[in-house]
C-alpha cells in the first residue's frame, strides 16, 4: 500500500516537472544542446542525418558468415560528432576500403606490401597489421563497430563506425569525432 502511494506520488512529481518544462519551450534553444539523430528502433542514420531501415540485431556468427561469404567494398563514408553529421566525404585516408573473404583487409593510401587482418568479437571488428618480422613499421590494432548488417540474396550492406578522436574536420568537435562507413557486399566468383 505504501509502495503504491509512493508510485502515485512519484508519477505526480514527474507529470509536474513535464508541465514545468513545457512552459519553457518558447526559450531559445542552445545550439550546444542540439544532438544529432541517433540509431535505434530498427533505423540507422546515414549522411546528412537521413534515417534508413537497418538490422541492428545481427549476431556475431551472422557477421562472421557475411564476412566469409562476401567480398566487402566500402561504398562511401561521412563524418559525425555529437552534434553534426556530414554529407559523403570523398577521402578517408588509411581506412579500410576492402574486406576479403580470406580475412584480410585493404586500406587506402597504403604501402601495398603491408597486410592487415581482422578478428571479430561481438559487434567489434578489430583490424591488425600482419607483421613481417623484419619490418620496422608497426601500428596499433584499430576497432570498428559494426552498427548494422543487412544481408539479402543479392548482396548486403554493412554500416561500420570508428572513432576518430582528435581528427580535425571543419568545425566538428575533435573529441567526439567519428566516421561512419557504408559497405556493400559483392558476391564472390565461387
Amino acid at each position: 500500500m505504501i509502495a503504491m502511494r509512493f508510485h502515485i506520488f512519484f508519477l505526480i512529481i514527474v507529470l509536474g516537472l513535464m508541465m514545468i518544462s513545457c512552459g519553457h519551450s518558447d526559450e531559445p534553444v542552445d545550439p550546444n544542446e542540439i544532438t544529432r539523430v541517433q540509431d535505434g528502433n530498427g533505423k540507422v542514420f546515414l549522411e546528412n542525418g537521413t534515417l534508413v531501415d537497418a538490422n541492428l540485431d545481427y549476431t556475431q556468427s551472422e557477421l562472421e558468415q557475411a564476412l566469409q561469404q562476401y567480398e566487402w567494398e566500402r561504398e562511401y563514408c561521412f563524418f559525425y560528432d555529437n552534434h553534426n553529421i556530414s554529407s559523403r566525404v570523398s577521402e578517408l585516408r588509411y581506412m579500410p576500403i576492402t574486406i576479403h573473404t580470406n580475412g584480410t583487409i585493404d586500406i587506402t593510401d597504403e604501402y601495398p606490401l603491408r597486410q592487415r587482418e581482422y578478428t571479430i568479437k561481438g559487434k567489434i571488428l578489430t583490424m591488425s597489421l600482419i607483421e613481417d618480422v623484419f619490418s620496422s613499421y608497426y601500428e596499433l590494432p584499430r576497432d570498428f563497430v559494426i552498427v548494422a548488417l543487412d544481408i539479402s540474396e543479392n548482396g548486403g550492406r554493412m554500416i561500420m563506425d570508428t572513432n576518430l578522436k582528435g581528427y580535425e574536420y571543419k568545425n566538428y568537435d575533435p573529441n567526439s569525432m567519428s566516421t561512419r562507413m557504408v559497405w556493400k557486399a559483392k558476391m564472390t566468383d565461387s
Binding site: S135, S136, Y138, Y167
Partner: protein, 276 residues
C-alpha cells in the same frame, strides 16, 4: 624462397597472442616530439625462435642482442644507443590530426642534434629506401649494427641484411662545433661612449638556426663585476649579445661565452669599452 619460408613460419608464431600496446612521446636532443609505441614483449619461446631462425638464415651477421618486439631499428639507432631510456618502437612517419602522414624519424636529423655527413664520419645510418636504421660499430671497423624488425640486434656489413635496397644509405653524425673567438660589434661606432648612453654589443657571426644561449661578464678596470657594483646596467639580452648602459666612466671588458642548445661551447666574444 628460403627467407620467405622463414618469414611465413615467423608469422605463425605470433598468432593467438594479444598484446596491450600504447602510444607515447619521447623527445630528440633538440626537443622535438617523437611519437612512439610502447609494446609488450614476446614470449621467451618466440624470442628464442626468432634468434635461432635469423642467425641460421643470416650466417654472415653476428648476433648481438635478443629479438624483441619492444623496440625496432629506428629506436635502437636514434634513441636507445643515444642515451634514450624509453624502450619503444619508432615508426618513420605518423599520422597528424588531419590523418595525413608526417615525418617522425627524420626529426632526429632535421635542425637537430644530428646532421648529414659522409660515410667516413657517420655514426648513424638511414637506409632510406628500406625504412631501416643502423649505427656504426664501435668494435669492428667497417661494420654496422642494427636491429632487424622485432628480430635480434645484429652486426653486419653495410649492405648485408634482410632488406631490399640496402645500398641506398644516408649518413648522419653529430658534428661538435669548433669554437670561434671574435670581437663584439658595438652599435656605437666611436671608440668611446658616454655615461648613461646605451649601446648594443653583438656577436654577428653567431647565427645558428637553433637559439644559442650565453654567459656574460662585464668587468671594470679593477677586475670587479661592473653589474654587481652598479657601474653597468643590462638593458636587454639577445641570443647573440647584450644592450648595456654604463653609469660610471672607466674602461670595461665585456666577455660573452656562447653555447648551443646541446650545451656545447661555441666560442667567446669580447669587447673593450671606454666610457667617458
Amino acid at each position: 624462397m628460403k627467407q620467405t619460408i622463414v618469414i611465413l613460419l615467423m608469422l605463425l608464431v605470433d598468432i593467438g597472442f594479444c598484446y596491450a600496446d600504447s602510444i607515447t612521446t619521447i623527445y630528440t636532443r633538440g626537443g622535438k616530439p617523437i611519437e612512439v609505441i610502447i609494446r609488450d614483449e614476446m614470449s621467451q619461446e618466440d624470442i628464442q625462435f626468432y634468434n635461432a631462425a635469423i642467425c641460421q638464415e643470416f650466417s654472415e651477421a653476428t648476433f648481438l642482442a635478443s629479438s624483441s618486439r619492444t623496440y625496432n631499428c629506428h629506436s635502437y639507432a636514434w634513441n636507445l644507443t643515444d642515451g634514450g631510456t624509453v624502450v619503444c618502437w619508432i615508426n618513420d612517419s605518423v599520422k597528424n590530426q588531419q590523418n595525413i602522414k608526417v615525418p617522425n624519424l627524420s626529426k632526429y636529423w632535421t635542425n637537430d642534434y644530428y646532421e648529414e655527413t659522409t660515410s667516413n664520419n657517420a655514426s648513424r645510418i638511414h637506409y632510406y629506401l628500406s625504412n631501416h636504421s643502423a649505427v656504426v660499430s664501435q668494435t669492428v671497423p667497417g661494420m654496422y649494427e642494427s636491429k632487424w624488425g622485432k628480430g635480434p640486434v645484429m652486426r653486419h656489413a653495410p649492405g648485408y641484411g634482410p632488406y631490399d635496397y640496402m645500398n641506398y644509405r644516408k649518413y648522419y653524425a653529430h658534428i661538435v662545433p669548433t669554437p670561434v673567438y671574435g670581437t663584439l660589434q658595438c652599435s656605437n661606432i666611436s671608440n668611446y661612449i658616454g655615461v648613461n648612453v646605451s649601446a648594443s654589443y653583438l656577436a654577428g657571426e653567431i647565427a645558428y638556426s637553433s637559439m644559442p644561449y650565453s654567459n656574460y661578464t662585464i668587468t671594470d678596470n679593477k677586475g670587479e663585476d661592473a653589474v654587481d657594483n652598479g657601474k653597468a646596467v643590462i638593458n636587454q639580452t639577445y641570443y647573440n649579445g647584450l644592450n648595456i648602459t654604463f653609469t660610471h666612466t672607466g674602461i670595461y671588458e665585456i666577455a660573452i661565452s656562447f653555447y648551443n642548445q646541446f650545451n656545447e661551447y661555441l666560442g667567446d666574444y669580447t669587447y673593450e669599452q671606454i666610457v667617458q
